[in-house]
């Protein structure tokens, strides 16, 4: 197996799915000749042509709206929103339309689209190139919300998303695009949506995270191991549907639970995981569920000190682990 970056996982999944199924196509701003601002679609334009690798007008609502229409007529669009921060104009199309098409037609219509968007901070993106938006969409039945954290998962989950008969929100942490490298298996494979993955086994506490935070949690777990704390790190991978059995199985093992996300604390998806553990795993707990998250300010500042202050890092997570372990 070859070691590759996470963004190569995106690119390979798109190319292979477009090769496998001519109904699959991509659309978005700058996805064509330029190959995307992060080069996620690099090479696709030359290989598959303009009709299937389409540069769109600068209008996110129509990127999703056109994708929805095209899905009605026998195609499988993969829409790229250039930054998750700019997805908000398409909220109506995603929530009122894509998510409800199967339900409101009582199964007469379905909406097999994928909406990809880079999210997350730590890249000096400031308020409008750093946001985490997963909680908005996790609240919407009818949508699946997937966040890969490794190159292998990125490719396998994106393939699964493209083959899924329902709309899938696919959020890729932009800082992981080139930072995170790993082996990508040769040949065609699919990583099932809805399954969490234990990235590090542990006995004293369980940490649940997704995207970049998985890697920071692994660093933190390594750091606290020196203090004799054995932290289990669970990569949630798909926010929706949520793998509750995997979460509860881990808590049963460790009796202590922590959720880490870079979205701000209040109403973040960590609240839902904490609620699940409280509701279904209360008897297993030896300590209150802890949340480590971005502060409740509107978004991540551009300057380095404040960006670092906002983003939970390995040291902050390790400190929280020590606190939880000693409760």
């Amino acid at each position: 197996m070859a070691v590759k970056t996470l963004i190569e996982g995106v690119r390979e999944a798109l190319a292979e799915e477009m090769e496998r199924d001519e109904r699959v196509w991509v659309l978005g701003e700058d996805v064509g000749r330029k190959g995307g601002v992060f080069l996620a679609t690099e090479g696709l334009y030359d290989r598959f042509g303009e009709a299937r690798v389409l540069d769109t007008p600068l209008a996110e609502s129509s990127i999703v709206g056109v994708a929805i229409g095209a899905a009605m007529n026998g195609t499988i669009p993969v829409a790229e929103i250039q930054f998750a921060d700019f997805i908000h104009p398409a909220f109506d199309q995603i929530v009122s339309e894509a998510a409800r098409i199967r339900y409101r037609s009582n199964g007469d219509f379905s909406c097999p689209i994928v909406i990809r968007a880079p999210f997350g901070g730590g890249v000096h993106g400031g308020l409008y190139h750093s946001q985490s938006v997963e909680a908005f969409y996790a609240h919407v039945p009818g949508l699946k919300v997937v966040i890969p954290s490794t190159p292998e998962d990125c490719k396998g989950l994106l393939k699964a998303a493209i083959r899924d008969p329902d709309p899938v929100m696919f959020f890729e942490h932009k800082k992981t695009y080139r930072l995170i490298k790993g082996e990508i298996p040769e040949g065609d494979y699919v990583t099932p949506i809805g399954k969490a993955a234990v990235r590090r086994e542990g006995a004293n506490l369980s940490v649940f995270a997704w995207g970049l935070m998985v890697h920071y949690c692994l660093e933190a777990a390594e750091a606290v191991a020196a203090d004799g704390i054995s932290a289990e790190v669970v990569d949630i991978r798909t926010i929706s549907p949520l793998d509750k059995p995997a979460i509860l199985a881990s808590v049963e093992k460790t009796a202590r639970a922590m959720v880490v996300h870079e979205d701000n604390l209040t109403g973040g998806f960590g609240a839902e995981i904490a609620a699940v553990i409280a509701e279904e795993g209360f008897e297993m707990l030896d300590a209150p569920v802890m949340r480590v998250a971005g502060p409740d300010v509107p978004a991540m500042p551009f300057n380095k000190p404040q960006e670092e202050f906002f983003l939970p890092g390995p040291e902050r997570i390790a400190a929280a682990m020590r606190k939880l372990a000693s409760y």
């Binding site: 609502s61 229409g69 009605m72 104009p89 009122s96 339900y103 037609s105 219509f109 009818g142």
Partner: protein, 335 residues
């Protein structure tokens, strides 16, 4: 001696049989529409929303399309359109009563939220404007797949103020899509008049700005509507580009059963509306030109009433949805 009117309908390739069939579709839609208001007043239908006065442009458009081949991405006043494309009064009344068997939504959506994959009528939400982008997407996919399908979408003039309307028209122009947008301009968006909605008398004037064809038509005159829609659909099918049609129509009813238009429309204006009835206008034409007798007209009216009676009886007796079935069809089975 042939009159100008006769040459007009013949020049459109419409014989008396075809015109009568379109008249029948309009009469049926009106009968269904009127009955739903009766059901509302009887307390049997919690909510209704109407297309009375809009029938000519809708029936003309449906007859210019290939039903089951071309697509309609509708809005909530398209009752006559959907019936003319092959939905039945039973299909509609099942939705008025919110029955399990309702083919539009299984009783989940309010009435007039049409949808039928079999008829290629895309399922509609209550959101105004989103559908324009869907029609552009359907048209783009048809082009990509090499199919000669046309996507027709409808909206009121109020909806043209939405960003999605603009974005969808822009797509249609950029790609010269097989796309037709019919703006059914009835002068009011609930209570907000045309003059507070836009700075032009006809929204079709915006067409050039999008790179699409624009045409304004008397939406109450079936023949004019048919001519405009025949050309627009032909233009779309042959790859010559998209069309924006502004059809002036009369809104006979209040916005919905939860509205009373007497609160914001002058009495004289409401009375004047009645002279703009598209069904009366076509009826007059058919009788004047000897294309239909009074007896035939009477039979058409009676048959429409009978069909509505049947639909109401059927729908009223049909089963309500099972409560727990509210949990179904969120995702595909097994997905």
């Amino acid at each position: 001696m042939a009159t100008a009117k006769e040459t007009r309908h013949l020049s459109l390739g419409l014989d008396s049989e075809r015109l009568q069939a379109m008249y029948r579709q309009m009469v049926l839609a009106r009968a269904v529409d009127r009955r739903m208001w009766v059901l509302n007043r009887q307390g049997k239908a919690p909510f209704v929303i109407s297309g009375q006065g809009h029938e000519a442009i809708q029936v003309a458009a449906a007859n210019a399309m290939r039903p089951g081949h071309d697509w309609l991405v509708p809005y909530y006043r398209d009752l006559a359109f959907c019936l003319a494309l092959g939905q039945t009064p039973r299909d509609f009344m099942l939705s008025v009563f919110g029955r399990a068997e309702d083919p539009n939504s299984g009783g989940r959506q309010m009435p007039s939220h049409f949808g039928s994959a079999a008829h290629r009528i895309m399922t509609k939400s209550s959101v105004v404007g989103t559908q324009i982008c869907h029609a552009a997407g359907i048209a783009y996919a048809a082009r990509m797949r090499g199919l000669d399908e046309v996507a027709v979408t409808c909206i009121g003039e109020g909806g043209t103020s939405q960003g999605d309307w603009h974005e969808g028209l822009n797509w249609a122009g950029v790609h010269k899509l097989p796309f037709v947008c019919i703006v059914q301009d009835n002068d009011y968006a609930i209570s907000v008049p045309h003059r507070l909605q836009m700075g032009v008398d006809s929204v079709a004037k915006r067409a050039e700005g999008y790179g699409v064809f624009g045409v304004s038509v008397d939406g109450g005159d079936l023949l004019s509507c048919f001519e405009v829609m025949r050309d627009a659909v032909e233009r779309a099918r042959t790859g010559d580009g998209a069309t924006l049609v502004s059809a002036k129509v009369a809104r006979f009813t209040s916005h919905s059963s939860d509205d009373d238009q007497r609160r914001y429309r002058p009495q004289a204006e409401l009375e004047a509306l009645l002279r703009r009835d598209p069904i009366e206008r076509l009826r007059g034409y058919l009788l004047d030109e000897g294309l239909m007798t009074e007896e035939v007209d009477e039979r058409i009216q009676q048959e429409a009433t009978a069909e509505v009676d049947d639909a109401v009886t059927y729908a009223e007796q049909a089963a309500s949805p099972v409560p727990e079935d509210a949990l179904l069809n969120v995702f595909a089975k097994g997905a």
